[in-house]
């Protein structure tokens, strides 16, 4: 099978409010797809349908991934459970020590979420998602509440882990730099009801960094493209 995920004619509306309009897309194994759109466009609704929390109004998603990791916008950690217990809550059979050390959380196993910084809580959120070695990692504006240094360090960690053992990624964001850093493909969405406006391949070269010339060049061309869409809308 070439694709781990195929979306066919997917639409979603709440009562008379259309949110997603006729989505058709596919995602290859190990591919990194970023959905870029304005706030309230319906990106999170798509992820909720993908993760089974909501049903589509029409169309369907063929999901061939057996293991899915989800990194939420807010960490969603159980406040009265330690870091270790939060990870074991999701999967009690997995060795958590390796992923904690990989994400620079070794030594914090017995800490409660309230004893960690915002960045560390988000790393635990990521550790929980990566612990079971997922085929598909879903990132729902996972870095939007973090400052640039924490954000870039977590994104570097994800990039390193992906290079060691590629897994498919679907991330939603409204941050262009974030999208360019993470993506192999960027899908630009229209404002609500969200439609796929443009599917762009991203190839910044072997090295990914916020300041790499390839990414900066892509960023300026994407800004031009987004501005042209805005003027059309």
């Amino acid at each position: 099978m070439d694709h781990c995920l195929v979306v066919k004619g997917l639409s979603k509306s709440y009562d008379s409010l259309p949110v997603l309009d006729n989505w058709n897309l596919s995602l290859g194994w190990g591919q990194r797809l970023v959905l870029l759109g304005s706030s309230g466009a319906g990106k999170t609704t798509f992820l909720r349908i993908l993760s089974g929390l909501e049903a589509p109004s029409c169309g369907h998603i063929d999901n061939y991934c057996t293991k899915i990791g989800f990194v939420f916008q807010e960490p969603r950690l159980i406040p009265w459970r330690s870091v270790k217990e939060n990870l074991l809550f999701v999967n009690p059979k997995v060795d958590y020590a390796g992923i904690l050390s990989r994400l620079r959380l070794a030594g914090f196993e017995d800490y409660l979420p309230s004893q960690l910084s915002a960045g560390m809580r988000q790393r635990v959120n990521l550790a929980r998602a990566l612990m079971s070695k997922p085929d598909l990692l879903i990132l729902d504006e996972a870095f939007s509440s973090l400052d640039l240094s924490v954000k870039s360090s977590i994104m570097e960690d994800i990039n390193q882990l992906w290079l060691e053992n590629p897994f498919a990624i679907i991330a939603v964001t409204h941050d262009l730099k974030e999208a360019l850093y993470m993506a192999d493909r960027i899908i630009i969405l229209s404002p609500r009801p969200a439609r796929v406006m443009q599917d762009i391949k991203v190839d910044p070269g072997p090295e990914r960094s916020f300041s790499s010339p390839g990414l900066l060049q892509l960023e300026s061309s994407l800004i031009k493209l987004l501005c042209s869409f805005q003027s059309e809308v």
Partner: protein, 247 residues
């Protein structure tokens, strides 16, 4: 230490008001605190009073246990399903509205004089509180945590243990807090009116003998026992709930 002194000042104030009332009113109706305490000390070496205290205490424990064992799961079901809640809400309202005296008449007809009546009445008086407080707790659950558990397909048993119990803990503590004092009061009244044994029956006996200092001493004993029970149950609850608390 500061709060201990504040509590001490409160107790001294209470004793002062009591002493003042004893001086103003008829001493046979309101005996002085020292007199009541010495009478209580005498009673405590009198086996029938100790037995009566024990008989009331176990009824209180049994009523609280039943309230917790039945009220919490029912509250959980009602909190999880709006349909079940709508079905049970009128029943709960009826239980809340029926006066204790009507329940008393019914239980005397059903079981006669004995321990079942006071336990049943205390149970019925406290059941709506435990159900409705648990429902409020369930509705207050963090939906984000439940969604996280759904996405990761965490088994229901683990979700109840790790998310539901932890979230409901403050509500369970509130139920215990309110129920202990209420249970003592209701059991004493029910014993007084329909009980075969217990402190309520002893208070009735003292009243019939026009022994008001005796009534005061037994009341004081009931208050002490109520406070001790509350402390014990809270300590027990604290130990049981240790794993769900945010240190």
């Amino acid at each position: 230490m500061k709060s201990f002194f504040h509590a001490l000042i409160g107790i001294i104030l209470l004793l002062a008001v009591w002493q003042l009332l004893a001086l103003i009113l008829n001493k046979s109706i309101v005996p002085a605190p020292a007199e009541t305490l010495s009478l209580l000390a005498e009673m405590l070496i009198f086996p029938p009073i100790l037995l009566a205290a024990w008989q009331t205490a176990w009824k209180v424990f049994l009523a609280l246990l039943l309230v917790m064992l039945i009220g919490l799961p029912l509250g959980l079901c009602l909190g999880l399903s709006k349909t079940v809640y709508s079905m049970f809400r009128p029943i709960i309202m009826v239980i809340q509205a029926v006066p204790v005296i009507s329940w008393l008449s019914l239980v005397i007809f059903a079981w006669g004089i004995g321990w079942k009546g006071p336990v049943f009445i205390a149970f019925l008086s406290l059941l709506p509180l435990s159900i409705l407080t648990t429902v409020a707790g369930v509705r207050n659950l963090d939906n984000n945590l439940l969604e996280m558990a759904r996405i990761y397909r965490v088994p229901g048993r683990r979700v109840i243990k790790d998310i539901y119990l932890g979230s409901l803990l403050p509500f369970i503590a509130a139920i215990v807090d309110v129920s202990i004092g209420q249970a003592w009061k209701v059991i004493l009244v029910a014993e007084y009116l329909s009980g075969g044994s217990g402190l309520g029956v002893e208070i009735l006996r003292m009243r019939m003998n026009i022994d008001f200092p005796g009534v005061w001493a037994l009341t004081l004993l009931a208050v002490f026992l109520g406070i001790i029970t509350e402390r014990l149950i809270k300590k027990l609850l604290g130990r049981l709930s240790h794993q769900w608390t945010i240190a």
